[in-house]
């Protein structure tokens, strides 16, 4: 017996679309306008970093503006995920609440570093060491904090495997549970970037960047798919009732 959130289905759908569109805008701003995809090497000198920013400084700054507007895309996403989790939990929806808390903190790690990059680009004629400092601060904040992410994913995993609902209509089929578990395992590669300035383990390397990002993209898309599918089913159930 799940909670009846059918009155919020339209709102959930709206928030999920909002999140997806914001995510696309964010990625465009960060990857192309700010030019950070692929990421610059951590072993660049202060002067090289200044040169990097100065190359397309206007485009960079406008990219920062757009990224700051669209950067909170994980907030509505986390809320919809939690709503879907809460309707499946019996009693107090503890996992949904945990997920929401962690999702909130995670969301800040996405736009927070963008603000610091923006500050770096704001007065590009300051001492190069200062620009390098802000550049590194932002990159390491973006890539390395593991903090609440595994907890966030654990909450989702609990619902995937503990739910009382058929997989084919569910927002949380068991395969999402395994995909989330894989994501959780991979995410531990992030903090390692604090120890390396080049190679596979650095912030532009395979383990802290490429793999977690790719897996996050797959997971983000897959979960969006199953949530939309579930919302459709929930709406059908509600109108049939």
């Amino acid at each position: 017996m799940s909670r009846d959130f059918s009155t919020t289905i339209r709102a959930q759908r709206f928030l999920l679309w909002l999140s997806l569109i914001s995510a696309a805008i964010f990625f465009f701003s960060w990857a192309w306008m700010m030019g950070f995809f692929p990421p610059p090497s951590p072993s660049l000198s202060a002067d090289q970093v200044v040169a990097l920013y100065s190359q397309h400084i206007i485009r960079f700054r406008v990219g920062v503006v757009l990224a700051l507007i669209s950067g909170a895309f994980m907030m509505p996403y986390s809320l919809v995920v939690s709503m879907q989790m809460a309707r499946l939990e019996k009693g107090a929806p503890i996992w949904a609440i945990l997920q929401l808390m962690c999702g909130l903190v995670n969301a800040m790690y996405i736009w927070g570093p963008v603000l610091v990059w923006g500050v770096a680009a704001f007065s590009i004629d300051r001492a190069p060491e200062l620009t390098l400092l802000l550049h590194e601060l932002a990159w390491l904040s973006y890539i390395t904090p593991l903090t609440v992410f595994p907890l966030n994913l654990l909450a989702i995993i609990m619902v995937c495997f503990g739910k009382d609902e058929e997989d084919r209509h569910s927002a949380f089929p068991r395969w999402i549970g395994y995909l989330t578990a894989w994501q959780a395992v991979q995410s531990f590669g992030g903090p390692i970037a604090l120890l390396f300035k080049s190679g596979i383990f650095s912030w532009n390397g395979l383990i802290p960047f490429w793999l977690p990002l790719s897996l996050f993209g797959v997971w983000f898309g897959a979960l969006s798919f199953t949530i939309f599918r579930a919302l459709r089913y929930q709406q059908q159930q509600a109108s049939a009732a």
């Binding site: 495997f161 991979q186 590669g189 390692i192 190679g199 596979i200 383990f201 395979l206």
Partner: protein, 190 residues
């Protein structure tokens, strides 16, 4: 008459195999990178490798192989509803994992004491990177084993529940399998 057993049964469930194939492939890329960089500095890598203790590596391998045995026995005990034996076997596996972690910490300590750290050279960059990443998997796997030890105290014939338990066991075996290759590459390659 063909019995069901000849058709084969997927251990755990499909989802865990995506995870295992995926993770082992990721590590394989790291292994390839290690051997590639080794090829560019064979003497440097060999000299650095000499700083490690084969004995410690061997002992750690024995710990993980033994833990895998316990976990395999534990999963079999689970399917046979042995609610006393199964948790004990998972805990036995967990104990071996703890021994691995402690020995690895000791090994790190001996290296740090000699001034060898992650930035010392390319070899040790890989040594610390690979073993730390693997250690993360050991820690996660240990959490899984603990959860399995607790869960198997109550009997259940629900197939989905068993699929999850068996998947957890497979994750642990993956941790063991990865170490087997890491041990060979870091300690034994000539």
């Amino acid at each position: 008459m063909r019995s069901k057993s000849t058709l084969g049964r997927v251990p755990g469930e499909a989802g865990i195999w995506i995870l295992i194939f995926g993770e082992m492939s990721v590590f394989s890329a790291l292994f390839a990178a290690f051997l590639y960089y080794r090829g560019r500095d064979v003497s440097g890598f060999t000299a650095s490798q000499a700083q490690l203790s084969k004995a410690i590596g061997l002992l750690n391998t024995v710990f993980l192989l033994t833990s895998s045995l316990f976990v395999a026995l534990a999963v079999r005990a689970t399917v046979r509803m042995r609610t006393i034996a199964a948790p004990r076997l998972y805990i036995a596996g967990l104990t071996c994992a703890a021994a691995f972690i402690l020995l690895k910490a000791f090994e790190y300590y001996t290296l740090f004491a000699r001034g060898i750290t992650v930035g010392s050279n390319t070899y040790f960059g890989f040594y610390f990177g690979l073993t730390a990443l693997h250690l993360g998997h050991v820690l996660i796997g240990s959490g899984v084993l603990l959860a399995l030890a607790i869960a198997t105290r109550t009997p259940s014939s629900e197939p989905k529940r068993f699929a999850l338990i068996e998947s957890g066991g497979c994750f642990w075996h993956m941790v063991d399998a990865l170490w087997i290759i890491i041990f060979a590459l870091l300690y034994l390659v000539e």
